[in-house]
Amino acid sequence: SQQGEEDPQALSIQEGENATMNCSYKTSINNLQWYRQNSGRGLVHLILIRSNEREKHSGRLRVTLDTSKKSSSLLITASRAADTASYFCATGTSGGYQKVTFGIGTKLQVIP
């Protein structure tokens, strides 16, 4: 079963605009990660935020985490055509090993 659910499932914006994607999850987590996937192939790790953190930045990426609402958001500022991809949130829990569970993803299209 999917732990995280991204919202929206698809997003289309103009180059230069900001893109915001949301993720909701159901159970307690140790951390939450965001991954990017181009063309339906391998995923690339973008950023990890721990459960005791509220906000984290990496370049044009900003991630927030609200554990009381069991939700996270990924903001991509000043989007570029190259940001066109699917974005997945993944929740990390402990259960003998660091199990990561992926959501269904948000498909982002950045129009040049």
């Binding site: 999917q2 991954y35 790790h45 997945f88 990390g92 090993y97 990561v100 992926f102 959501g103």
Partner: protein, 114 residues
């Protein structure tokens, strides 16, 4: 350094045939994961390896699916008597150890069962 590699990149097989998919993780990574991604869907966890053992096989959808890992490195996912619903992209990922959450993904194998 070299990333995670998978082979073949594409595989077309007839229904009922067996297939083997291979994953070469990053050297030194002890944890290895297999996922399946159907068209337009998220990642479905299949199996987790720590070294050569598989403490979590809970995601394998049926007994037609099996996986092994040898020498703490290469892993093979085998699907016996393939069905059309097995068509998907099979992704392998590795991480440095059980305490590391960040996973490094291979490019995947696209399996098509006709």
């Amino acid at each position: 350094g070299a990333g995670v590699s998978q082979s073949p990149s594409n595989k077309v097989t007839e229904k009922g045939k067996d297939v083997e998919l291979r994953c070469d993780p990053i050297s030194g990574h002890t944890a290895l994961y297999w996922y399946r991604q159907s068209l337009g869907q998220g990642l479905e966890f299949l199996i987790y390896f720590q070294g050569n053992s598989a403490p979590d096989k809970s995601g394998l959808p049926s007994d037609r699916f099996s996986a092994e890992r040898t020498g703490g490195s290469v892993s093979t996912l085998t699907i016996q008597r393939t069905q059309q619903e097995d068509s998907a992209v099979y992704l392998c990922a590795s991480s440095s150890d059980t305490l590391s959450y960040e996973q490094y993904f291979g490019p995947g194998t696209r399996l098509t069962v006709t």
